[in-house]
């Protein structure tokens, strides 16, 4: 029988460090370790009710809070933008509860939590990328239900995803499917990389740093350990196409970044990664 004192000790202080109590953190960490050991696999974890809405980054937030320490410097972006309200609210929640620094500069951050973009400036091996995931299973929509999809994954049966690529090929000449194009990890595991744009898909390959994926609503984590082999799901004779703006960023003149057209000033394109855009125009010190 456990005493209240022991329970309290195990649970941590009344206001736990980094919001989650130690037991919950340990569980998320175990899932992360398992995910790193099985790159691309969806690992279930008992997702906690978080102080933000489910589907708003609650999974990635649990991942970040489970790995963050007082020496970390945290950056959170939404669509590449540090100033987005949701990103700002989470950044402040993480920094406050974990008593750590926050930044908007990719180069300064030790942990970058992101919704639907991989930062434009490549991360180093001492940095960590945490991606928010709304729907972790690329087969679920196609198979119609989660149980069938799980069985297909277990059998390595990716027919439905290939069939969809084929239909895309016939209908629209292949190329990108919009955001979140499915990828093959280490040639074996089919993974949904979260709704990142086609531009970011090839950038998942052979990264020097780990990438952790958190889906809070559907209670799954996934991981790519450093130097994972990641390829978009596409036919050998039909290369994966990345649409290009063809117009330089109106802010920093970049021709290589991922750019989005302005609706207020049609014809002008802007980097979706605001820190990258700023760092190009910021005076070099």
């Amino acid at each position: 029988m456990m005493s209240v004192t022991e329970l309290t000790k195990l649970h941590g202080s009344p206001e736990p460090y980094a919001y989650l109590d130690e037991v919950s953190k340990r569980e998320v960490r175990r899932a992360i370790l398992k995910a790193l050991a099985l790159p691309g696999h969806q690992i279930p974890f008992s997702s906690r009710e978080m102080p933000i809405a489910r589907g708003w980054g609650s999974g990635a937030l649990q991942v970040t809070l489970s790995v963050v320490g007082p020496d970390d410097i945290v950056k959170v972006i939404d669509q590449g933008d540090d100033a987005s309200l949701n990103a700002q609210a989470m950044r402040s929640l993480i920094a406050t509860t974990a008593e750590c620094e926050q930044t908007t500069r990719t180069v300064e951050a030790t942990i970058v939590q992101s919704r639907h973009r991989i930062p434009e400036i490549p991360l180093r091996s001492d940095q960590l990328l945490v991606l928010q995931v709304p729907q972790p299973d690329p087969l679920r929509r196609l198979a119609g239900n989660a149980a069938t999809a799980a069985a297909l994954h277990a059998e390595g049966d990716h027919t439905l995803a290939w069939l969809e690529r084929y239909e895309d090929e016939v209908r629209r000449g292949g190329g990108a499917t919009g955001a979140g194009h499915p990828v093959m990890v280490n040639g074996a595991v089919l993974m949904g990389p979260s709704p990142i744009p086609p531009y970011d898909i090839p950038r998942l390959d052979d990264l020097p740093h780990p990438v952790l994926f958190g889906a809070g609503r559907l209670a799954r984590v996934m991981a790519l350990p450093p130097h994972s082999h990641v390829r978009p799901l596409s036919f050998d004779d039909r290369p994966f196409l990345i649409p290009d703006a063809g117009v330089a960023c109106a802010g920093c003149n970049s021709m290589t970044s991922h750019r989005i057209e302005s609706t207020v000033r049609p014809g002008t394109w802007w980097c979706s990664d605001t820190d990258y855009c700023f760092s190009n125009t910021r005076p070099k010190s």
């Binding site: 708003w56 629209r172 990108a176 919009g178 955001a179 559907l218 649409p243 302005s262 855009c277």
Partner: protein, 345 residues
């Protein structure tokens, strides 16, 4: 700079204060402004906040019974013909798009506590909101982005106009639809009939079904969401002068989902409107309207649905997350459609 809902801490604070101001206005346990009252009015299909709070009290807080009380009461009221509201009489208090980073007229936060942490406080006294010292309209103005000059619906461009060439030509019905309280709807409904039935549907059902439907789609993007106040005038029976009889809060949402038209990938536009200010109702209706224009949907009931659609927080989360910016994925989807069009030319 190019940013959606650029974080001005002041804007978030003011949005929260506005939301708190509405919820703590009355000392009574159920104030007329309570969102619960909005929900009862919406599900009853009549804007009658005083009747709704009375019904809530008489039902002991049982929502289903309260809605029934109001619907039964309303069924015996004298019936007037529908009157079309002019867009000049709709005052927008909140105006957001998830599809684009910037929209004509600007992104306005309005009253909202969506970004405030969801933490229960055990303090007896919640930070008193001094609404008297600051006019509501001042607070609303402070949550708006610079450049917003007007809040009349007729002056604010609809976001759907930006994608009109991509989207399917939606059957934009004009005029009165059948009133579900008076007409016998027979399937298949007209789109107007369906929208009328959805507008007074039960909130939980709308959100659950919408979350299930979204699971089977590639894209569901919220083009626009507005909270507005409709100033409703009628002609005085004797003098014929226009008299203001009510100021009705409404939420409007427009969402697009992917659709195949003659084998071509495209978008279909859905519209949702609800009485009151419960945004998830309007978002869910817009998603369902879009999907149903593609024809009937076959739904599966399985264990996955139990965790994702029957769990209120989970279903609400996925429906409300449509409010978050999606402009990167939406741009990617639009570009894949354009890719297809180029191929055909």
């Amino acid at each position: 700079m190019y940013a959606t809902l650029a974080s001005s801490t002041a804007a978030v604070k003011n949005a929260r204060r506005l939301a708190l101001a509405s919820s703590t206005q009355s000392k009574a346990s159920v104030s007329e402004q309570s969102l619960l009252v909005h929900q009862i009015c919406a599900e009853a299909g009549i804007w009658a906040p005083d009747a709704a709070s009375r019904a809530l009290e008489q039902s002991g807080g049982e929502l289903g019974r309260a809605v029934a009380l109001v619907r039964v009461w309303a069924a015996t009221l004298p019936y007037a013909d529908a009157k079309t509201v002019s867009e000049d009489d709709i005052e927008i208090t909140r105006h957001l798009s998830a599809a684009y980073a910037e929209i004509p007229g600007g992104q306005w936060l309005g009253p909202s506590d969506e970004q405030a942490p969801r933490l229960l406080t055990w303090l007896d006294h919640i930070d008193p909101v001094d609404v008297e010292s600051e006019r509501r309209s001042d607070l609303i103005a402070k949550t708006n982005s610079p450049g917003a000059v007007t809040s009349r619906r007729s002056d604010v461009r609809r976001v759907r106009d930006l994608i009109v060439e991509e989207s399917t030509e939606p059957s934009t019905p004009k005029g009165d639809g059948p009133d579900p309280t008076r007409a016998a709807l027979t399937a298949p409904f007209s789109r107007l009939g369906r929208l009328a039935a959805l507008a007074r549907s039960e909130t939980g059902a709308l959100v659950s079904f919408s979350s299930v439907v979204m699971e089977s789609r590639r894209e569901a993007i919220l083009l626009e969401i507005n909270s507005s106040i409709v100033h409703f005038d009628v002609a005085h029976p004797r003098t014929g002068n226009q008299c203001r009889v009510s100021e009705v809060p409404i939420v409007e949402a427009e969402a697009v989902t992917d659709i195949l038209i003659d084998g071509r990938a495209s978008l279909v536009l859905g519209y949702g409107v609800s009485l009151g200010s419960l945004e998830r109702r309007a978002i869910a209706i817009a998603v369902l309207d879009a999907v149903l224009q593609d024809g009937p949907v076959t739904l599966t009931l399985d264990d996955g649905v139990i965790t994702s659609a029957f769990d209120g927080l989970s279903a609400t989360g996925i429906v409300e997350h449509l409010r978050l910016p999606h402009y990167v994925s939406f741009a990617a989807y639009l570009s894949s459609i354009e890719n297809e069009e180029d191929l055909e030319q």
